[in-house]
Subunit: 433 residues, 2 copies
Amino acid sequence: MIRLSTTQSGFEAEFRALLDQARETTAQVDAAVASIIAEVRKGRDAALLDLTARFDRWQPEGAAGLRVSAAEIDAARARCAPELLDALDLAATRIERFHAAQLPNDVELDDTLGLTLGMRWGAVDAVGIYVPGGKAAYPSSVLMNAVPAAVAGVQRIAMAVPTPDGVLNDLVLAAAHRAGVTEIWRIGGAQAIAALAWGTESIAPVDRIAGPGNAYVAEAKRQVFGRVGIDSIAGPSEVVVLADASQNPSLIAIDLLAQAEHDESAQAILITTSAQMAHAVEHAVAEHLTTLPRSAIAGASWEKHGAIIVVRDWEEGAALVDRLAPEHLEVMVAEPQALFARIRHAGAAFLGANCPEALGDYVAGPNHVLPTGRTARFASGLSVFDFLKRTTWISAERRGLDAIGPAAVALAEAEGLSAHARSIALRLGQGAG
Amino acid sequence: MIRLSTTQSGFEAEFRALLDQARETTAQVDAAVASIIAEVRKGRDAALLDLTARFDRWQPEGAAGLRVSAAEIDAARARCAPELLDALDLAATRIERFHAAQLPNDVELDDTLGLTLGMRWGAVDAVGIYVPGGKAAYPSSVLMNAVPAAVAGVQRIAMAVPTPDGVLNDLVLAAAHRAGVTEIWRIGGAQAIAALAWGTESIAPVDRIAGPGNAYVAEAKRQVFGRVGIDSIAGPSEVVVLADASQNPSLIAIDLLAQAEHDESAQAILITTSAQMAHAVEHAVAEHLTTLPRSAIAGASWEKHGAIIVVRDWEEGAALVDRLAPEHLEVMVAEPQALFARIRHAGAAFLGANCPEALGDYVAGPNHVLPTGRTARFASGLSVFDFLKRTTWISAERRGLDAIGPAAVALAEAEGLSAHARSIALRLGQGAG
């Protein structure tokens, strides 16, 4: 953990180093992934069965056994604690409501010249949702990825989830059922991405793939991009907490550690106007770490990537936040809305002391799939927009063509595109123009 | 050119072959591009000057000479024909108006439980627009890329345009001036993309890069993706024209050729319910080709990639369009709106006989940067959305936290994320929960 203050000499260099810190080394898996994709494109179902036996150490009798049946889903749900199913349902309902509010309107624009211009939104036909298996199988991620697709109106939502050693995660199946997933396939890794993108005898190809995964999954998404759409490839997670002197240091500390417990490359940063608060939070972090079950991970993240920055005022603080463009931003100050209004770049903001980031991770409603690694400067969280696309359209009366056609002819000729020019000139009755 | 009919045996196989036809071979330039990017990151301005001398055969005295001055822009505009400046202005005004209509609204959602959820749109700070130089320097592309950024509210729009042998394109500079570009740099290729993404002593880095380019530019965009955002990487252009028996075959033919004249890998497809129209259009294409200045290119494209497909009815026709998901779709039938309503996938549609695609390429208003190669299944044309990003936010009264906090604690514990659970439980007053 590094302690910085904007009043110290050399602050700018230290802050730049923090910005440029690489928190993740990318494994070189390009060639391995290319070969797995080629294997699936060639061998299709049979290749999927082989690869699943090789990587997940289980194999059904035939490709049909790769699909989770309705009976298996029902059985899994029956094994879930009712209060967890209720919690999933509350989360799904709130996520649905928030994402429905994002749904955009079509545009239709008449000009006075006799042309009508429009933009029509439509859903992608078929989407693949990748869900990691094993210990990192998170039902909340199933909701966050599948619900926006369902709300957008996607008709076919195919989920891929590996089941290492054949073990299914009941709550993941329950979440998929609640979220409106239409097919669940017990496949993972690059082979799952290849099957979703290219299709096999059993699995119809999809148009877009979303969802997190390991280095193989991320590289496979990169390699099938263009054939299908993909969501952004997430890096390690991060939070910036802004706190003034009035806050409870123990709550700030646990919020920082909630970020840090994800994995050792996660990053938690406190920016505060109070040197006293900085000390108190540092103490409280140490204290929480003595009792947290995941203290080994959280402690390593805090040690390697954590930072506490003391600023003179919130003008300075807001400027630092914009340079960090964090995935998560907690604003725990007296007037959180006013400070948030001065900040331009963050994936998601949590305003006031009653909104720990974990509330947003599960049940608040906005998505928890967010831009990491300073990409909030130009990227956004997962939303219905990831599952919609637009078609623009034009229609014209004859007088509309007459009004703007000559300008198009002039520009087309200036660009040397004579068939373009002629296609308009012929209609204007100017012959071969 | 291939002639197909849905009534012929073997149609499905032939149509599939058309769908899978690769129209472009991608040059292997990965290593060359990686080395250019490394050179610019290390040598910065000096490297840019060297690379510009090497590739564009031109070198100013210092890095300041890479920037086009206000005086140069004024001089370039003064050399443009007034009617072309007027045409550019008409186009820019209409493009501005259409893209302003796309601007989305923020979301703010109060629930009855004591939580407020929101989504706030904001512009990217700085954008790079790449404009190809030499013979493919299109002022219309400058407008189509820069205007949406300006309408979105981007404060800094830096344009990169190579000037081979030092030659500036006057109309490109005039378009940049009209579109609201704030800086113009006479740089091109992978070195321009590297400079925009990483910055040099003279050029501040941008957050997002848009605009078309050759194989080097496309690969450089791929390689800097993540550091900055990029727009989609366009493939060869295509049009599908739907025409019934009532249309003028000569107009259909010239519209097909307007697509084909872009380059030999462009594709033009006619789908018609009339076998007679199919013959008439084929004839008219041959006739136009005898007089078109770019007939060598257009003829080669039509020969290699063109297709005429006769369908039984528009139900069949619409289904084929959705499988092709074309970049451009002309709907020249008696009721174009009704047929368009049945089609789900296309980048941009041109409805009725008064709307040749070329009208949209220049002056209609919607963007001409569109998804190619069947990607309209999941992708959309360039728009203000490419230059905006969203921040979601949450705020809660204490009763809101009380209402939904317990469900979040249950889910966090089920996922084994105990610091997440504790960050909420502590606030709920349940101790270390």
